[in-house]
Amino acid sequence: MSTIRQQLASPLQLLVLASAGIILLPLGYVTAQALSADPVVWSRLWATRIPELLFNTVSLAASVAVVTLVLGVSTAWLVTRVDFPGRRLWEGALVLPLAMPTYVLAYVYSYLLGFGGPVEHLWQLVAGPQARIFSPHSYGGATLVMALDTFPFVYLLSRSALLSMNVSFEEVARASGVSRLSTLWRVTLPLMRPSIAAGVALVILYVVSDFGAVSLLRYQTLTYAVFQQMTGRSDNTAASILSLLLVGLALIFLITERWFRQRSRFYQTTGRYRAPQRHRYGWFGALAVTGYLGLIVGAAFALPASLLIQWSLSPEAQATLDSRFFGFVWNSGILAASAATGGVLIGLPLAYLASRRPTMLNLSCLQAAYAGYVLPGPVAALAVLVLFSKLAPVFYGSVLILIVAYVIHFLPAGLQSLEPALQHMSPNLEEVARTLGLGIRDTWRRVTLPLVRNGFVVAWVLMFLQTMKELPATLLLRPVGFDTLAIRVWMEASEEYYQLAAPSALLIVLMSLPALALLVSKDWRAA
């Protein structure tokens, strides 16, 4: 028996299966390698590294989760429920830290808070010449940097929850004689819970897979340890074992995030949208709010950005702006563009088949594509490296395997905007085109593609941005002559040549800003 859908599927189906295979195979290889490892290696790792690494990773994730929760929810509440001068400005500014890669923020803070750094000098003026502040190369430092960098995830999700929430709930509570604070506590926050939880889970996923910040702050996490094992050992067994643990850990958080996102649908309320009423604060209140937001945005973006600018203007930094530097820019651009294009080309059929022909097979293929979420950079690199060296060594050391690693790693980010774009488009639109005399290909060209174009563009930009900032996989897989801006930042910053790292870092931040604006404007419209 044949249906229209089956006819449409067959060539695509092969492509989708192949994509899913390319994504899953490396993970399978790493898993196999880890599981077939000598038990002696396992027990040695258990006895020496694993408990410490697990503890460090989980405790960092926990503390960052708590801090981002407080920062994200409080700022979201202020910009949606309070009226104060410059509110709209702050509303946008709170997203800016997302343009700052963690390793940039980490290196700025290791200067600021570092031994003999400016903050310590200030503190010594107050507390005496022997006074010390806490070292950024510590649990506290890593928490601070990661939290400042990732709280916008919680902020964005909380903000749209607050904006899309039916105001009637709050009004009912107030009508029942409940105070404003109590309403916040008993009605607003519980209603936001799924969004907040999804945001926090996202943050945790980010922290667990971060390499840049922890490597510069010398805080030992699983991701960092995988990288160290890969670069310091002649065989990858131990790295595979740690990778497997890391994947397991990330999977737990991914499932949690999914679960909460599912729940947040139930919490979404229908009914006509009404803008929430914002209460106006007096000048003192407004000043306090502005100060609070200013402190956060300043610490997470303004201060680091101005330091980067200042360093970039130094003569040492200016001297690095030669043809080599522009080579790095070109490398960054070409790699990111290839990865983004590859990601969209692979992601589109996956998302299309899963939404138009949701068989078990197609849905599984799509889920497989989300594996990148639980493959932190070094693991993705390890996976691709192991796979290619076994199956297609021809490509080893070529740009191709780097791009494959990028695509695997960042496909989820792209799918997250491709998938809803396709889902929001009713299949009726394609069907009606068929009744109007268009064949399958014309329907794709004149209806499907134009309608998913926005999702398409956003997905591309997102993957471009992520790839441009990517560090560990690039470090491990880059071919000769393919140093990127991110690599330069990391290399210079890890030897504490702050000025020399600044131009590259600044350029990454600047290039991230328009992309960020695009993404945020999408979120703005959606809210």
Binding site: T3, N428, T435
Partner: protein
């Protein structure tokens, strides 16, 4: 074309009616024993046969999940048939072995949500399928459709800038501009405000008549079906219960399901004795010629029961529902049986009033008792997909 097209349970007078209702020679659309299944072995619709004549408005009526949308999608070529055939203009388009692609069927379709292309203006939506025409002819056709549908002045708007009614008209215009062999409408009024629906029904009816478009309309609302259709096909659980004119449907329902679905009806149990049906409400003639002692039910519509307040009468008014032009009374018979009666809006009786019931026996329909068991809570298995 001499195959048996009887679908509903055979009844004596229906066979005579079928002769003139059914004229396959001129049919634009014909379904023969069509079955469709989303899951093998669990048909969403089975053994559906009907035909639509040139210019006819045909309505598929049934509760949600009865398979009416599935039939529409099968006609459009979105769903394959697992047995039977579908003919459009006398040509076989669907059978287990043949599947003409939608774009070659020349069907027009208006979806429940209209499915206007959000990235195109009104005029481009309407002209979407006219690529093969010269620019001048294209715009002439679009202009004509805009005029016909009363959308002049809106051609440069985007769909999201239109009201629901306007969107529906654009969707119609887009389908009609193709001169489709048959126009398929899937619950066209379900997304409109109720006060708008009445007007749109009238407009649509006029437009279809003027353009002489053969139309198949899917709805779950019998008022809508009555207002629009030349003939109605009532579906239940994937089967065709009755295919008839609206009037026959109302007054001569083929099955208790149809009787109940197309309007308020009460079912009074009775027994056949000496050629007459004896019930609590009196005697009725034995139209289905049962033997004595057969258990039967008599279907009576509220407008066939007249109430006369009588002191000492054994029936009591339980409640009154004011409906503007009429009052609908719920009355309890001595046995506890509940019946409904509609009276003029001026006759007002309080709850508890003792009333005598007079029944206009001409409009009653008789069913055997076993046909009607479980009628009150007709289970609707969700075997068919609605959208």
């Amino acid at each position: 074309m001499t195959s048996d097209h009887s679908t509903a349970p055979t009844r004596s007078q229906e066979t005579t009616l079928q002769g003139d209702l059914y004229t396959p020679a001129s049919s634009v659309l014909e379904l023969r024993h069509v079955s469709c299944a989303y899951v093998a072995g669990r048909p969403a619709v089975q053994e559906i046969s009907f035909a639509a004549r040139e210019g006819e408005i045909l309505c598929l009526l049934g509760p949600s999940g009865c398979g009416k949308t599935t039939i529409l999608r099968a006609v459009a070529g979105f769903e394959p048939v697992c047995s039977g055939q579908i003919f459009l203009s006398g040509q076989l388009v669907s059978s287990p072995d043949v599947m003409t692609p939608t774009e070659n069927r020349r069907v027009g379709m208006v979806f429940q949500e209209y499915a206007l292309f959000p990235h195109l203006r009104v005029q481009d939506n309407i002209a979407f399928g006219l690529r093969h025409l010269a620019r001048s002819e294209r715009s002439a056709r679009v202009q004509e459709m805009l005029r016909l549908t009363g959308l002049e002045g809106f051609e440069r708007r985007y769909p999201h800038e239109l009201s629901g009614g306007q969107q529906q008209r654009v969707a119609l215009a887009r389908a009609l501009v193709q001169n489709p062999v048959v126009l398929l409408l899937d619950e066209p009024f379900s997304n409109l405000d109720p006060d708008m629906t009445g007007r749109m029904r009238q407009e649509l009816h006029d437009l279809l008549r003027r353009t002489k478009t053969t139309t198949v309309l899917v709805t779950h609302d019998h008022d809508e079906a009555f207002a629009m259709a030349d003939r109605i096909a009532v579906l239940n659980q994937g089967r065709l219960e009755q295919f008839d004119t609206p009037e026959m449907m109302y007054h001569m329902p083929a099955t208790p399901f149809v009787a109940d679905f197309v309007g308020q009806a009460d079912f009074i149990p009775g027994t056949v004795f000496q050629g007459m049906v004896h019930t609590e409400l009196g005697e009725f003639s034995n139209t289905i010629e049962c033997e004595d002692d057969t258990a039967v039910v008599v279907m009576i519509r509220p407008d066939d029961i007249h109430l006369v307040p009588t002191k000492g009468a054994t029936s009591r008014v339980l409640s009154r529902q004011f409906r503007g032009s009429e009052n609908l009374y719920t009355v309890s018979l001595p046995s506890g049986q509940i019946v409904h009666s509609s009276q003029g809006s001026t006759s007002v009786y309080q709850a508890g009033t003792a009333v005598e019931l007079r029944v206009l026996a001409t409009h009653t329909v008789l069913f055997r008792r076993e046909e009607s068991t479980g009628l009150a809570s007709q289970p609707v298995r969700p075997i068919a997909r609605e959208h």
